[in-house]
């Protein structure tokens, strides 16, 4: 008997973005009624693969096969027409429209003259939420919904498509245990109906409980693929990481010095409330929490980019006034923002110009900018940070993500800060450069710099931070010690729930 072809497959798919290679020849086959786990570290290429299957990106080479026949997706509509539904990691919703419209955009039921049947649409949406076991008013607008609720709308959207292939990119990251359990119930029902599921998660216990087949990616390449029985959790972690964790995260001895930054009762109405902590010299203090928990907003509040409604910040005994980044810089705070392209760099300006933006006084000779001084100030840090570039006069746009991040770091280190706030230090950075950035941050802390680090990459926080503060919905939910914390204990605080399935903790190996 010949096996039916997989519902959806890719063969030898390659994709690069500029100088960054995201996928280097990946195969994947999704079979009817089977849940397939796609595993790998951040930056391993999972999301790129998802976006190729969704028709968002086109592979540079390789083929996508639907029912064994090669296809070319010209856009998301083609992928949807082929019966593929995708739940993205970050909700992509219409905030000004109702939940019902979000679920059924482009697929709303019609009545006479091609009009949308609003009542029927509402019933469909209600039924979907009933199936998911959540109560959401389908009439309300999406704006203002929590991230978890938004993720549920995304899930309902994917289910409404009557898809034959369901792709879920970390759907459970923001969900509570109960919601996650409901979701898996629905996934099992879909599988029984012959739907193929591709499931991306960082929670290995979910993969082992729900998936029959595993594929592991590392640095854009396929490491191994096979049935679940062929793997143990330890194998999976080892193959994902490809090296022991102590190589990825530098070993350091914490030596908490005196208090450098003291924050008390920081509040911004409706965003965060009553955040207080001490940051010591030489310490790396991690901020964990789900997307939308308010971590970046607290950092922006401390640095004065956003106003605060209450609370105080002191650096070395000096009060940092609210809403005044210039004053924050004078007291010795530096901030590497979350989105370096939008907030950290002027993409068209040279490396030199970018690296000296925060210290205009130091590169001036008389009223003019001196290229020699610019170069001097820049080189001091770019050499220490091992920036890979031909010329310092090149625009930063030509650099890879990791090297761009080094330029941002150089810019702020040139201000000789006491406190370095660094938000998502390695987002969109390839694994090699990531280890280098980690090494540098560790060295800076070793030299006495106090570091506040926000990251959505839990292994990164666990590997780097001396202490981790966990935020949930705008409040401090708790603190853990960096050495003894596990991914589970942090998630427990971040969601306020026990993880869906008790068991294996990864990353703490």
């Amino acid at each position: 008997m010949i096996d039916p072809p997989p519902l959806l497959a890719v063969q030898d798919v390659r994709k690069s973005f500029g100088s960054v290679i995201a996928l280097r020849g990946v195969d994947l086959a999704l079979h009817a009624g089977e849940a397939h786990a796609l595993l790998g570290e951040n930056g391993a290429g999972k999301s790129t693969l998802v976006r190729i299957l969704a028709g968002v990106h086109r592979p540079d080479s390789g083929v996508v096969l639907v029912n064994g026949a090669p296809v070319v997706f010209h856009g998301p509509a083609d992928s949807q027409a082929a019966g593929i539904a995708v739940i993205y990691q970050e909700p992509t919703l219409f905030h000004d429209l109702s939940i019902t419209e979000n679920v059924l955009m482009g697929r709303a039921p019609r009545r006479s003259f091609g009009r949308i049947d609003h009542a029927a649409a509402r019933r469909i949406a209600s039924a979907l939420f009933g199936e998911l076991g959540v109560k959401l008013d389908p009439e309300r607008k999406v704006r203002g919904l929590s991230i978890a609720a938004q993720q549920l709308v995304e899930i309902a959207k994917a289910l409404s498509n009557a898809a034959r292939v369901l792709i879920m990119d970390e759907p459970t990251a923001a969900l509570t245990g109960e919601e996650t359990a409901h979701l898996f119930e629905v996934v099992r029902r879909l599988r029984a109906r012959g739907v193929a599921v591709l499931f991306i998660t960082h929670r290995l216990e979910e993969a082992f409980a729900e998936c029959q087949r595993f594929t592991i990616l590392r640095d854009g390449a396929l490491v191994e693929s096979g049935p679940r029985g062929a793997f143990t959790p330890q194998d999976v972690v080892r193959r994902m990481v490809g090296r022991s964790l102590d190589q990825l995260y530098p070993a350091r001895t914490a030596h908490a010095g005196r208090v450098v930054l003291r924050a008390r009762g920081l509040t911004r109405h409706g965003v965060y409330r009553d955040i207080g902590f001490d940051l010591h010299a030489g310490e790396i203090l991690g901020f964990a929490g789900l997307v939308g928990a308010g971590r970046s907003e607290v950092m922006r509040g401390i640095f004065g980019i956003d106003p605060r409604d209450g609370g105080s910040v002191e650096v070395e005994g000096q009060i940092v006034p609210p809403g005044d980044p210039q004053a924050a810089m004078r007291t010795g705070i530096a901030m590497v923002p979350e989105d370096r392209r939008l907030q950290g760099l002027v993409m068209n300006l040279s490396i030199m110009r970018n690296a000296t933006l925060a210290v205009p006084g130091r590169v001036r000779r008389g009223p003019f900018v001196s290229a020699a001084r610019e170069q001097g100030v820049t080189q001091r840090w770019t050499e220490r940070l091992r920036l890979k570039t031909q010329r310092l006069t090149d625009p930063v746009a030509v650099l890879s993500g990791g090297n761009q991040q080094k330029v941002v770091l150089a810019k702020w280190l040139a201000t000789a800060p006491h406190v370095l706030i660094i938000d998502e230090p390695t987002r969109g950075v390839d694994v090699g450069a990531k280890a280098e950035l980690h090494q540098m941050i560790a060295e800076l802390a070793q030299a006495g710099l106090a570091v506040l680090m926000v990251s959505s990459d839990l292994p990164e926080l666990l590997g780097m931070a001396d202490r981790i503060l966990v935020m949930r919905e705008g409040r401090l939910a708790g603190a853990c010690d960096g050495a003894s914390a596990s991914e589970e204990s942090v998630m427990w605080l971040a969601t306020g729930q026990q993880a869906a399935l008790p068991g294996l903790a990864m990353g703490a190996a």
Binding site: A54, V56, G75, P76, A77, Q80, A81, V86, Y88, T92, L93, F94, H95, D96, L97, E101, M105, G106, A108, R110, G114, R115, I116, H118, V134, K135, L136, D137, E139, R140, K141, R143, G144, L145, S146, A148, A149, T176, E179, H269, G270, V271, E473, G474
Partner: protein, 339 residues
């Protein structure tokens, strides 16, 4: 999670009412303004006075409908006034050449010419990826310049127009001017389309989150293209009505109207940030601005104050929107934090 999820139906209806709050507010301020002005000067409410205001407003209100389509997609169409100018003079030229042409045919010609010019905007914006502010600022001048080159200082006067067309502006059904009825019908038609048709909802989707619209399989380029073609077509129709209303058109017809049109839509609750607003609101906004200008004249307010007051009103409208949006968001957050 459960707190936020538990929104009872009553609250849903309240939320719905909140979105209509804007239009009710507009109607209320209109009524207050009309009554106050009439109390000072009763002639303000004379049938002739009302008719004049409605006729003045109808052209701007019509253009504001097309502008709303652009604004909903988080774009702007500044070229509408130039398209209107070309259509107004063009309609006159057609009447001079073919005095016997039926009025609806000339209207269709205006619509077609406007659609062609709008398509040029659409091509630049959807496929050339030129930001609409820049693209339509450019075509605002290009179209107006072409108009000057074509008209060469000429002018269409009421004398040159066929009598049927001259009477069209004054024609009325049950006391309501035909031009006003036409604008009301177009408003209701587009309002219905935007609310009840998948294509109409796409304008909101594109303006609310373009990335999400693409992922939902919406052809964003095609929607942009159609939106700007429609905006141009409506401006073309408005050009014909402009000629009917004023009986005269030269190369400056409609010049400077684009910002009044944007102002009308924004006062009417169409968000410049996209995804929010209705054509009914935009038309009401045009009516409110028109009533204010007339009221200021009736109340003998010096003419130079008029623009200041209109501008101030625009700022108040936008500030109210921002405050209201912030407050609602804050309420929602507070609700599911406590719940």
């Amino acid at each position: 999670m459960s707190g936020m999820a538990m929104a009872p139906p009553v609250r849903g209806r309240l939320a719905l009412r909140l979105s209509q709050f804007r239009e009710l507010g507009l109607v209320a301020s209109l009524l207050a303004l009309v009554l106050a002005t009439a109390a000072v000067n009763p002639r303000f409410l004379s049938p002739l006075g009302i008719r004049d205001i409605l006729l003045d407003v109808s052209v701007i209100a019509l253009v504001a409908i097309g502008e709303t389509l652009a604004l909903l997609m988080r774009q702007v169409d500044l070229s509408v006034s130039s398209i209107l100018g070309i259509a107004a003079y063009g309609a006159g030229a057609v009447f001079v050449a073919f005095p016997g042409l039926p009025i609806p045919v000339v209207m269709l010609l205006g619509v077609a010419a406007g659609a062609v010019l709008g398509a040029m905007n659409g091509l630049l914006i959807a496929y050339g990826r030129v930001p609409s502010l820049v693209a339509t600022l450019g075509t605002l001048y290009v179209f107006r310049g072409a108009d000057y080159a074509w008209v060469k200082g000429g002018q269409i006067n009421a004398i040159n127009l066929p009598p049927t067309f001259r009477h069209f502006a004054n024609a009325a059904i049950l006391g309501v001017p035909v031009m006003v009825l036409l604008v009301i019908i177009v408003t209701i038609g587009f309002g219905y389309y935007l609310r009840h048709y998948p294509g109409g909802r796409e304008y909101y989707a594109v303006g609310s989150n373009e990335e999400a619209a693409r992922l939902a399989g919406i052809n964003v380029e095609r929607r942009l293209m159609r939106g700007f073609m429609l905006s141009g077509a409506i401006a073309g129709l408005a050009g014909v009505l402009f000629l009917a209303r004023f009986g005269t058109a030269d190369a400056t017809a409609g010049a400077g109207m684009e910002l009044r049109v944007v102002a009308a839509a924004v006062v009417g609750g169409v968000a410049i940030t996209g995804g929010v607003g209705t054509v009914q609101g935009a038309a009401l906004g045009a009516l409110l601005l028109g009533v204010i200008s007339n009221a200021l004249v009736v109340l003998r307010v010096p003419a130079f104050w008029q623009q200041t007051i209109e501008g101030a009103l625009l700022l108040v409208a936008i500030s109210l929107d921002i405050l209201l949006a912030r407050h609602t968001l804050w309420l929602m957050r507070a609700r599911h934090r406590n719940g």
